[in-house]
Structure formats: structure tokens, C-alpha cells
């Protein structure tokens, strides 16, 4: 009973916060704090990862690429799931803020995915002797980037923004098939890419001296994403209002 009413209260609070005016106000208060915390953790993670943590016994200094590569990969996957979820929410509930949030998140997710691909390539050259190989994980990650591009292009391709949002939401949901393929490709197929060592059943198989900077960077990436996401969503909301005002004044100017 208590749980149910708590959920209801949370839901109502969220709905209130999702009112455009309220959202602009709330997010304005939140953004500086989140951004500052993210930046601080990013610096700490960088120092720890690049200077304090030891080189790998096999990979040497190149292992430090990991502190960018792995958090970026996680964020690429996480943001896609978020975008798809927001799109689904928008399709079912029809709340414009969900679409605005999805539109704001997609380019950020594409950026993280691109960072993962680029750092992976830089890492691959010394490790595998090639910038790129067509193994299952790499290929599916590349497809994820294409899916992001499709989502971004589709959501901006129509004169009526609602149509773009809905079409992009459908694409986002369909593209979710790709997420488990990225995640489990290393287990399902025999690939060059290394299997999961942090997020797996039975706890991480990685030395704590490397685990700490990694987790720091992962948290920093999350916070930085969250701050940017709020800024971009705010911009979308305010932009929609400006466009509505402009079209109203145009109608009046015409009369």
C-alpha cells in the first residue's frame, strides 16, 4: 500500500516536473551542479588513469586508452536504450517532452559511440595490427552508429516535427535488436575483441588499481552526459516555444 502510494506520488512529481515551464526552471537549477561534479570526477579519473594507475603487464601503456574507450562504449549503449525508451514513452503517452528529450539525447549518444569507435581503432592498431577488423562486436557497434545517424536524420527530416519524432521513435525501438548483439557478440561469436571483464556474472575480473579510475571515468561520463542532456532538452523546449510565437506573429502580420 505504502509502496503504491509512494510510486503514485513520485509519478505525480515527475509529471509536474515535466510541465515545460517547470522543467525549464528545474533544469536551470540542476545543470550547474551536475556539470561541476562531472567535470571534477573527469579530472580525477584522468589523473588516476593516466598517471597513478599501473601499466598493464601485457598491453603496456596502451591500456590507458581503456579509461576513455570503455566508459564511452557503455554510454553509447546506455543512451541508445534511453532514446528508444523515451521514444516509446512518447508514442504511448504522447508527452512532447519525451520526444524532446529523445531528440536531445540522440546526438550525444552518437558522440559517445563515435568516441568508442575511434579510441577502439587507436587501440586496435598496436594490439591487433589493424585499425579495423570486421568482427561481430565492431560491426554491430558501427551499425549502432548508423542507427543513431538514422534517428537524428529522421527526427529532423519533416516540416511537422511531430511526424519526425514518431518516425524516429519507431526506428529507435526497432533498432534495440542491435543492443544485445553488441553486448553479447563477444560471447556468442569467437572474436578478436576481448570479452566482458567488468560487468559480468561473478564480479569484475580486473585489478582494483585499474577498476577505480575506470569507475571514476564511467561516473564522470554519466554526469557530463546528464548535464549536456538537460541543456539540450531545455533548448528544444524553449525553441519550440519560440517557433510557435514566431508563427503566431507571422499569421498576425499577414492579416
Amino acid at each position: 500500500m505504502a509502496a503504491a502510494s509512494a510510486i503514485k506520488a513520485i509519478h505525480q512529481t515527475m509529471l509536474r516536473a515535466a510541465q515545460p515551464a517547470r522543467f525549464v526552471e528545474l533544469s536551470g537549477m540542476l545543470i550547474p551542479w551536475v556539470a561541476a561534479l562531472g567535470a571534477a570526477m573527469f579530472v580525477a579519473g584522468l589523473v588516476d588513469g593516466l598517471a597513478l594507475s599501473p601499466p598493464d603487464y601485457q598491453q603496456g601503456e596502451t591500456v590507458r586508452i581503456m579509461y576513455m574507450h570503455v566508459p564511452a562504449a557503455w554510454m553509447g549503449l546506455f543512451v541508445y536504450a534511453l532514446v528508444a525508451g523515451l521514444g516509446g514513452l512518447g508514442l504511448v503517452g504522447g508527452h512532447p517532452l519525451a520526444f524532446a528529450a529523445a531528440r536531445a539525447a540522440a546526438p550525444l549518444g552518437a558522440m559517445f559511440t563515435a568516441v568508442c569507435l575511434i579510441t577502439g581503432s587507436l587501440w586496435g592498431k598496436p594490439m591487433w595490427g589493424a585499425w579495423w577488423v570486421w568482427d561481430a562486436r565492431l560491426t554491430s557497434m558501427l551499425l549502432l552508429l548508423f542507427l543513431y545517424f538514422g534517428h537524428i536524420a529522421l527526427s529532423r527530416a519533416f516540416d511537422d516535427p511531430r511526424r519526425g519524432d514518431k518516425a524516429a521513435a519507431v526506428l529507435g525501438l526497432v533498432g534495440c535488436v542491435n543492443l544485445p548483439i553488441v553486448k553479447f557478440s563477444v560471447d556468442w561469436w569467437n572474436t578478436l575483441h576481448q570479452p566482458a571483464s567488468v560487468m559480468k556474472l561473478g564480479g569484475p575480473a580486473i585489478d582494483p588499481s585499474m577498476l577505480w579510475p575506470l569507475l571514476l571515468m564511467a561516473a564522470a561520463f554519466k554526469l557530463i552526459f546528464f548535464a549536456l542532456w538537460l541543456v539540450r532538452t531545455r533548448t528544444e523546449v524553449v525553441g519550440a516555444r519560440l517557433r510557435a510565437a514566431a508563427s503566431r506573429s507571422r499569421m498576425e502580420g499577414e492579416r
Binding site: L147, G150, A153, L154, F158, R163, A167
Partner: protein, 221 residues
């Protein structure tokens, strides 16, 4: 049923008479395949090695290119609105148009592929499998493409959008299709790959018309 046949007939007529139809697709396919030996060089072993992949990849691109106009032409000249407000269910409309698209492009592509295979030194044993894999795979492209074309309808940059949407989804078709031919070429059994292609086709047949119809209704809104 009458309306279904009417749409099918008209689309076939248009594909045979007008641009972006059968001839464009076949022309593109032939030229794209012919360009390869020019770029890669004439060594028979290399050509034979890449032949299944090249044939399948180019067939995919050729089908993709012709998909843009699947609904776009009707949308632009005002035909789509009466088509959707007639007595024919939108799902059947999609099916009729996808079937016409397949008959006008997928089928000719499948038939032309073995001929082009000769130019790439594809061994004769692999020809039947090439034909079979394309016959099973091209309907999937038409059906998936119908969903993509409906989603991208009226969008700017519809071609890229379509490609970006359809390609990741059709990647498995490509992999299994080319895989089947390669197996046949190297003397392995191609049946497993062909069976997978067949079941993908059945799933697409069940799911895609519904999805495309929903997208179409959105589009004329």
C-alpha cells in the same frame, strides 16, 4: 480483391514503362557489377573469391535505390490520399505495392544475377544457389523497404534515410545470402543458410505490411 489487383497491375505497368523501374534497376545492377573488374583488376581467382559478396551487395543497393519511389511518387502527385481512403485496407495496399516492387525489381535481379556471375568467374555449381538465395532474399528487401519508405515519406533526404534505416536491418539477409553462395562455391552445403533466409522472409511477410501501414497513416496526416 479487385482493388488489390488494380494496384498491382498499375504499379507493374509503371515499373515497365517509366523510370526507376525494372530497366533502371537492371541497368544499375549490370553496370555496378561491370565496374568491379575495372577497379579490382582482371585476376580470375580474386574475382571469383569476391563474386558472391559483390553480386549480393550490388543487388541490395539496386533494390534499395528503387525503393525510394515506392510511395513517394504517389505521395507527390496526390494519388496516395485516394489510395488510402479507398475500400482497400492499408495493409493490403502495402502488400500489393511491395509485391509489385518485388516482381518488377527483385525477380529480374535474381534472374540477371547468374548471368552477371559468369563475368565474375563464379563457378557454374554456385549458380542455382545464387538464384535461390536471391529469390528468397529479395522479397525481404522489398518488405523491409516498404516500412522504410513509409517512414521516410515526405522527408527531406529520403534516400539516405531509407538506406540508413533499411541497411542495418537487411545486413543479416546479405550475410546469409552471400554466405550460401560462398558455401556452394567451396563445396559446402548451402541449405542451412537458405533455410534461414526463408524463415526471415516469412517473418518479414507477417510483420512488415502492418508496420508500413501504420507509418503510412501517419504520413498523410
Amino acid at each position: 480483391m479487385n482493388a488489390f489487383v488494380a494496384v498491382l497491375r498499375r504499379d507493374l505497368l509503371l515499373a515497365l514503362r517509366d523510370g526507376a523501374g525494372t530497366w533502371t534497376v537492371l541497368g544499375f545492377f549490370a553496370i555496378a557489377v561491370a565496374v568491379f573488374p575495372l577497379g579490382v583488376g582482371p585476376e580470375p581467382q580474386v574475382l571469383a573469391r569476391i563474386a558472391p559478396g559483390v553480386l549480393w551487395a550490388m543487388a541490395l543497393l539496386a533494390a534499395l535505390l528503387s525503393l525510394e519511389t515506392l510511395f513517394e511518387a504517389d505521395y507527390r502527385d496526390g494519388s496516395l490520399e485516394p489510395l488510402l481512403s479507398g475500400a482497400l485496407a492499408p495493409e493490403l495496399l502495402v502488400l500489393a505495392k511491395a509485391l509489385a516492387h518485388w516482381l518488377a525489381t527483385g525477380l529480374p535481379l535474381a534472374i540477371a544475377a547468374p548471368v552477371l556471375g559468369i563475368f565474375l568467374n563464379l563457378p557454374t555449381e554456385a549458380m542455382p544457389v545464387l538464384l535461390a538465395s536471391l529469390l528468397l532474399g529479395t522479397p525481404v528487401l522489398s518488405l523491409l523497404g516498404a516500412v522504410g519508405a513509409a517512414l521516410a515519406l515526405g522527408a527531406r533526404r529520403a534516400t539516405v534515410l531509407l538506406a540508413v534505416m533499411v541497411l542495418p536491418l537487411s545486413a543479416p539477409v546479405l550475410i546469409f545470402g552471400a554466405g550460401a553462395v560462398e558455401s556452394a562455391q567451396t563445396g559446402l552445403a548451402a541449405t542451412p543458410s537458405l533455410l534461414i533466409l526463408g524463415s526471415v522472409a516469412l517473418v518479414a511477410l507477417a510483420v512488415c505490411p502492418v508496420a508500413a501501414a501504420a507509418a503510412l497513416r501517419q504520413a498523410v496526416e
